[in-house]
Symmetry: C2
Subunit: 461 residues, 2 copies
């Protein structure tokens, strides 16, 4: 995958599949030329074959699945988007899926199997060897999105009393039993973790030293039930490459490596943006009906907040009838408040998700956001108030809209902090439900303040 | 950091600093009892000491900086939030900073130094050894947020003709020269990368084998100028633990490891949510004035879109005067359109950022989003139209709001795809500017469609 010499006919450029290559694949699929399809796909990295599936339409995906046959292996399936993989796996025989699963690390195998329908799941599990089956069923017994489902069980553990030379000799014999590993775990006779050794220490340490001289005793242990978001935070915080997972009795149960965590981190951080917008899982490969169901809920919730605003406006009907320009200007106050609320809310949701916002700095953060909102409020109020006063030659109208804007922006800033914080304290995911409440507050307060000040000041009298 | 036995007096619980511990630190700082402060802080992991700084207010941070003295070392500074670190480093003598920097890997050192004022930067660089200074100045010569700034230069490279036994012997002598490493790079005599060996292969391979028998030739090379977001995508896509960075001549220049990338991934994915909301960097530790400047720009842009909507409403003043309920209902149509647009936009911005959306599936994605928007539009239109018709005993009014809603939601769905896509094609970051355009479209079309249909159908006549 060197990029030194760019070949115009290459499948890949700048790490993306090329349109010309995709067209070549599609025409080979249309011509049912399976030899040509396989020849084109063969040089690709498994992750790029997975990409290829994602970029083809449903018919070509089916054709490619058939054309690849057993070349559609564990590595390719492990890299595929969940929705696309569901579709592809649905077309494979259970024996084919079982063969792929048996070649995967436990974490990838579980990720594939947990998405299957119960009947398919059973059919695939039946085809597995007893060992693989037990490993996967144990993993499936842990909660969804927990460390137990992310970990792989294949790992190297050694006793504390060994020397480095003994560990090196042991590894020469362990060749066939493990896949890649990045750290060696030191365990007690009860298989409880005592410390870790990075492979680079093992390789550079004098061979006569004892394991206990080289190992690091301070280690980050991941409980098997821990939520994957929390696992990801620990990998970030302590800059881990791999970490031991311990079962409920404190025994070493598996290992999680950073390459699995990068997916989780991207997923969790990206999820917030989708949740905040009310777009559910928000995957472009999700079936239309699932997207519809996820999104329409939030639109209905938004409809209810719209009804609250409409009632407020309607209650000022007499004022509006006398001065119809108020109807034109009031959405500005509401909308700029909504915008301010969204800015603050996004900052707070991120700070809560990354663990930066804690009890210790809550008060400081609220004051900080109120200060930013106040500065913004004054700036926008000056611009809007002056503009309106000049345009309509009506200083009172300018004053009313300026006052409403300052108050609404301060309320918006506070709502943007307090709503996600309050939801978090109630145990609700702040990314999911904050938007609806913040929008309701900023919209209704925007209309109420502007139309209320206009009426109270006798502007339209 | 085992969590088997929770100690109520422990500094940490559930991976967070405890409020009681923070209060103990604050009172020791208030009492200027530096011995007590150091005793409390000593058992903490460097990442937790960094957290401690983030959670204290500005005065206590200064006091803690003084109290820790030289214990405020490279590891702690490397883990600190950028804004907080700026503040802390500003209070340290250049020799102290230089000492910490010289203990850091190049990537961490660069991350610290690149944020300093030019004069401070110069003062720190002057205190460094010639070697360290050259390493950092070379890194700083690469663009900000590029692979060259993320990589560390310390790595192990071996020639292809060695045996595994030779590599093992070499590592025994290399002990003092390198920090941790996860892969060994095989290079040509011109120092161009030929392949990699994971340490686990090296440890399990028979020692008489040649490097060329064990190494993997297919490798992901990162050009030194590559943007960090693209680097992060490659780590995710190919599940990398470390990757070689090559300079413009294709020579091995450094290595990037997954533990540095987890920060970038979290940062980049989290950035989108903040950019979409118009909150700039959106860090709770950012100075208030910087937050104000970043956010007020987008509020002013939003003000302009508000003026467009207001003009549209004002142009229907005659209709509204005759039927003031139209003024109350029109924000619902606009707002529900804005919501739909935001949902679609969030999905598309993520799909673009993760490389899932490409030329090959653009048409399919647009049709898909239009279908979801149509289903949502019909659902909401039925609810809203029926509700309005019944409430106001006016079937025509219900029909008008239903029709406006269906059209506005389809427009919103299309805008949610086309705007980020169009910005991306123009080379503008879709997360930054999409919101303003989408809101402008959904707001103005919402008012235009509803008031326009009402007027055209003679509803208020």
């Amino acid at each position: 995958m060197s990029e030194a010499d760019a070949d115009p006919n290459a499948a890949m450029d700048d790490n993306r599949l090329q349109p010309a290559f995709l067209r070549a694949i599609e025409s080979a699929l249309n011509a049912e030329d399976e030899g040509e399809v396989r020849a084109l796909v063969k040089p690709l990295h498994p992750a790029d074959i997975a990409d290829l599936f994602e970029q083809l339409d449903a018919d070509h995906r089916t054709a490619l699945t058939t054309a690849l046959g057993r070349d559609l292996n564990a590595d390719v399936l492990a890299e595929m988007n969940d929705w696309v993989r569901d579709e592809v796996v649905g077309e494979l025989a259970p024996e084919h899926v079982a063969e792929a699963v048996s070649e995967m690390d436990t974490d990838d195998a579980v990720a594939l199997i947990e998405e299957l329908e119960p009947a398919e799941q059973e059919a695939v599990l039946d085809e597995l060897s007893a060992d693989d089956r037990v490993a996967i069923e144990t993993a499936l017994s842990y909660p969804e999105e927990s460390a137990g489902r992310l970990m792989q069980r294949e790992l190297i553990a050694v006793p504390e009393h060994w020397t480095i030379a003994q560990v090196l000799d042991f590894l020469q014999t362990a060749r066939d039993d493990v896949t890649d590993f990045w750290e060696i775990f030191v365990v007690s006779p009860e298989h409880k973790p005592l410390g870790t050794m990075r492979l680079s220490w093992l390789l550079t340490a004098p061979r006569w030293l004892g394991v206990s001289d080289v190992m690091q005793r301070q280690q980050t242990l991941i409980p098997v039930d821990l939520d994957q978001e929390e696992v990801a935070l620990r990998f970030q915080k302590y800059a881990l490459i791999s970490a031991a997972v311990v079962d409920r009795d404190g025994r070493l149960a598996g290992v999680i490596t950073a390459d699995d965590i990068v997916h989780i981190i991207a997923e969790e951080a990206g999820e917030d943006i989708l949740k905040l917008s009310g777009a559910g899982d928000g995957d472009i490969f999700e079936p239309v009906v699932d997207s519809y169901k996820a999104r329409v809920r939030w639109l209905i919730a938004n409809l209810l907040t719209g009804i609250v605003s409409a009632s407020i406006i309607a209650s000022f009907g007499a004022t509006i009838e006398k001065m119809v320009v108020l109807a034109a200007l009031s959405p500005i106050v509401a909308s700029i408040g909504g915008n301010t609320g969204n800015q603050t809310m996004a900052v707070i949701v991120r700070a809560l998700a990354t663990g930066q916002m804690t009890n210790a700095n809550t008060r400081r953060t609220i004051l900080r956001e109120a200060a930013v909102a106040f500065l913004n409020g004054v700036t926008i109020a000056l611009l809007l108030g002056t503009g309106v006063a000049l345009l309509f030659s009506n200083a009172q109208l300018g004053g009313v809209i300026a006052a409403a804007t300052v108050f609404n922006l301060i309320i918006a800033g506070l709502a943007g902090v307090m709503v996600p914080l309050g939801l978090k304290r109630l145990g609700v995911d702040p990314a999911v439900a904050s938007s609806v409440f913040v929008t309701m507050i900023t919209d209704s307060m925007g209309f109420l303040l502007f139309l209320g000040f206009a009426t109270a000041s006798g502007l339209a009298a």
